[in-house]
Amino acid sequence: MIPSLDLLLALAFGNLGLMLLAGRNPTAGLLSMILYALQGWVLVMLMPALAEGAASGLAFQVFGWSLSWELNGLGWFFAIITVGAAFFSAWFAAGAWGVQGTRSPWAFHVTLAANVAAMLLLLASRDLLTLFIGWELVTWAGYAMMIQSGGPATRAAYKYLIYGVAGGLAVLAAVVLIQVQAGGLGFAAVAAWMPGISTGMLWALMLLLGVGFGIKMAFLPFHRWQAEAYGESPGPAAAFLGAISSRMGLFGLLILLVHFIGLARLDELLLPLIGLDARILWMWLSALTIIIPTFIALKQNDARMLLAWHGIGQGGYMLLGVLVGSELGVAGGLLHVFNYATYQAVLFLVMGAVVYRTGTAHLDRLGGLITRMPLSYVAMLFAIIGLAGLPPMNGFVSKWMVYKALLDEGLPLLFVAAVIGTLGTILSVFKLIHNVFLGQLRVEHEQIREVPFSMWGPMIALSLIVFITGYMPGLALDLVMVAQTSLGFAALDYHLGGFVTDTGNLNMLAVVSVLLLGMGIGAGIFLLGGNKSKRVHQLDNYAGGHFLTTEVRYHYSHHFYAGLLRLIGPWYITLIKRLEGGIAALTDTLAAGSDGLYRTAYTPILMLAATVLGLALVL
């Protein structure tokens, strides 16, 4: 087998076919894991060929357009994450979860395979037409993945679909417009054509494509669909979707903003009245995307919804970093894609495990699970430290790079905005781990056990990646640099432990070593210096002079952060919510009107009117 793009696509689509046929078989999960691993291997082997682009032999001729595919560095970077996320999700679903935990493991395996295949096709596109085809396939594959658990997920997926179709059609309009105006659709041809176009045209294209790609990425103000859609999906599906699905939007935005338009041109594009340039506009949108959803996440009482809202916010860092444009910023933004995928997958998998055991993800109905599911607890601990962006986990590295880049480039306000987002993150992940794993164990959960290896295995493996790439970010930066150079930016000067820039450097090897040393000393003192604590049952205790009973909750979880939330106020969300409702109501009214029009008793009048108005129009 010679590693090539063809082989990769063949593996991906072969997996899809296999799952369609054999998805009900108990070994299906294992089979698909092997196939994802093989795809990963092919991707790694493809790495040297990326400089010239790994072309595919697959080609179609339709209506005079030739469709063909070619993988470049940017796509490769996203593809690695995709296949990796799929591997761990499939692992999670391969064992107990897949056999008993879901309505149909077949649906999960098939939709996962379909998503991976569609994403690879998208990431390997080399012109706008194949990009659009891949784009639509990703949208529909994502929809299929979301509806599989039925119930409220169906409604969420429906909402996603409406947004997705609208976004897809905006992209389509832009693609056709470009094809007609530029005469070609190849990325290179379009990039060469772009500098010559008028400002109005550029705004139109940026709006259409930006809306289309932005919807997938749940960019403000198109963020309303995502949390529900991901949150309601079953555990491993949510992990996969949360880890990588939305990043397809980022992929599109990067091609649009960096490859096609170019950051320099963005600087020249001034908004009419305010005088803000387009790049700053995008950066502020990114910053708002970080802040607002993060604080909405604070309000959530369902763990999966909380995570999903965070997923939206984290996307903002990635685009913000890339738009800074310096080597450090771009590397930070892209590294965040990788890092985020790892810990978000862990978080959704852990919640999937919790739901598997307890049947709920509601934060008011959980607590104290640390004693029952310690491995899950450790995995979540690693992941939330990553999500919060604290050392020694990998989230810290990428966020640090983005902060530093913002400061270096003289954008302190955006830096403050990004830090506010991080504060919100810390608050809400504390709420998460506190309400799920710490505090009082509920009586009904006293008998539950840790999930089987097939489920904690991928969680722990991924959380180790979270830690290792935090300890040695150079490992992940190897991958990032492939994408960064492919985008046309200079490579960052990095090493295994961190990076070196003119204004300072970071060496995580040292940071983490010091941290671990400190923790080791602390642990040593604690353990050696006489750990005299005695383990008792949680109700074998008293509070306020009373013995505790099962009815009494001493674990504070209701209305977490109520005061803070009163301060923030919900005005920003209701505005867009009302807009959404208004559009729906308008559609309903127009639909009723049209239906009535076709039920009229006086059909000949319509014909006469059409004739007369038509004659008036053309004569």
Partner: protein, 490 residues
């Protein structure tokens, strides 16, 4: 084999059927399908002949073109004839009380449809169009239910009024030019560029648009489709509506290319898309949803036709082809489900194959790549951006917004199909109807071979206009040039 036989054979068989039925009653059952099958073979042979030796012009009765009636045995006409025969054969109604009479009507419909597809004479087109129309009035009433009769009568009134207006348009053209032959009319664009010519085009669009389900001449569509047998609905939505478009296609390609009157067709199409999709969103039962969606799709075709040019015509053809395969299959698949959308819950779990195919076909209507509907929409947008100088954004916006609505109602249905419901008890529902399976197979073949079909459609369009393709927004070409072009024609 002479392509005229395509018209003569079914009509002859239709004339003989009532008498033959009196000799042996069983004739009424097998006679019709057998003749259509024979006709299909002849059509295929004629189609193949065109592939080999190129388009032919037939002077009926041996009277050369402007004097007599001209038939075109070209790619478009014979492809349509093959598809028509095939569709009639596959969608032969089963549940009608009066089989012999329905056979007669279908035979007439087949012959007239073939004539309509090939005729290149304005008045002859009108005659065949009326013939098809009267046959469909009969088909619409075929099941004898009261509602079907009402729907048929309302359809008849609209159709008759439209035909009268179309005839008025033809009268205007004739009074202005003194000829009815399309080839010759194509060379007289000077005479037709005045108000009489433009008005005639509008009147003919109104008249022929009744059958082509154009807005607002299509009020009959939901009524008729809701009350006829699903096969008849499938037949009418699938192929007969396309015959109306075919007439308009020939008229525009050969005579009225670039006429300002096309703007009317454009807006009629856009409003059809918008109102059709919206009404489908508001509809509460499956038949109506499919009927309204048909209106929307035909609106798209009308927009593509109005834009004209090679891209526009190919877009119209591929959209028609897509709809031709998809809509009958949808009607047939949905036939096994309860009519009301509310009662659909969980039916998809009982019949997963049908439901999955339903979704797949709906995806093509919405225009999801790489299904054929996507290429139609893509080419349509291409034509809009190429040909429309002002207001292209508005047009595209309206069409795409309607598409979002389309996706919304189709996936509301899909979600309901796969949602929870008392599915388990109904696992005895029969599987995919065989005929629907055939349509689905043809659809999949089209999806896989879109590239080749696209090449063929290009040839079809070129066969339609041997002289230089006229772009929609350009002025009329000067008469001398088109006379030269005419000389080389066929």
């Amino acid at each position: 084999m002479n392509p005229e036989i395509l018209i003569a054979l079914p009509l002859l068989a239709a004339f003989l059927l009532p008498a033959a039925r009196r000799i042996d009653a069983s004739v009424g059952i097998w006679w019709g399908p057998l003749v259509v099958l024979a006709n299909l073979v002849i059509a295929a042979m004629a189609w193949w002949k065109v592939q080999l030796i190129g388009p032919q012009s037939i002077a009926l009765g041996g009277f050369a073109a402007p004097l007599g009636i001209e038939l075109r045995a070209d790619h478009l006409g014979l492809s349509a004839a093959v598809l028509l025969n095939l569709a009639v054969l596959l969608l032969w109604p089963r549940e009608t009380p009066d089989k012999a009479r329905v056979s007669t009507i279908l035979l007439v419909l087949t012959g007239a449809g073939c004539g309509l597809a090939m005729s290149a004479d304005l008045f002859n087109l009108y005659v065949f169009f009326e013939l098809v129309a009267v046959a469909t009035y009969g088909l619409a009433a075929a099941n004898g239910k009261g509602e079907a009769l009402i729907a048929s009568l309302r359809y008849l009134i609209l159709g008759a009024l439209g035909s009268a207006l179309a005839l008025l348009g033809i009268a205007l053209v004739y009074a202005k030019t003194g000829t009815l032959n399309l080839t010759e009319l194509g060379g007289m664009s000077e005479a037709l560029s005045g108000p009489a010519g433009i008005g005639a085009l509008v009147l003919m669009v109104v008249g022929f648009g009744v059958k082509a389900e154009l807005f607002p001449l299509n009020n009959w569509v939901p009524e008729v489709y809701a009350h006829t047998e699903s096969r008849v609905s499938a037949l009418m939505a699938g192929i007969i509506s396309k015959l109306g478009i075919l007439v308009l296609l020939r008229l525009i390609a050969e005579v009225f290319g670039g006429s300002p009157g096309l703007e009317f067709l454009l807006w009629v199409g856009v409003l059809g898309v918008v109102t059709g999709e919206l009404a489908a969103y508001g509809a509460k039962d499956m038949r109506r949803v499919l009927a309204y969606s048909s209106i929307g799709q035909m609106g798209l075709v009308a927009v593509a036709l109005a834009l004209g040019g090679e891209t526009g015509f190919i877009a119209a053809l591929i959209l028609m082809l897509n709809h031709l395969l998809v809509k009958p299959a949808l009607f047939l698949i949905a036939d096994a489900w309860p009519g009301s959308l509310k009662a659909l819950a969980g039916k998809g779990r009982a019949r997963p194959l049908g439901a999955v195919l339903f979704v797949l076909l709906a995806l093509s209507l919405i225009g999801v790549p790489p299904l054929p509907g996507f290429w139609g929409k893509y080419l349509l947008l291409d034509a809009i951006f190429t040909n429309v100088t002002e207001g292209a954004g508005l047009l595209v916006g309206l069409i795409l917004a309607a598409t979002v609505v389309e996706a919304a109602y189709f996936f509301r249905i899909a979600a309901r199909l796969f949602g929870s419901g008392e599915a388990a008890e109904e696992s005895k529902i029969p599987g995919l109807p065989a005929v629907a399976a055939l349509f689905v197979i043809a659809f999949l073949a089209l999806s896989v071979q879109t590239g080749r079909v696209g090449d063929y459609l290009k040839e079809v369009v070129h066969g339609l206009q041997p002289q230089e393709l006229r772009m929609a927004q350009s002025d009329f070409p000067d008469p001398a040039a088109s006379v030269n072009g005419k000389g080389e024609r066929l």
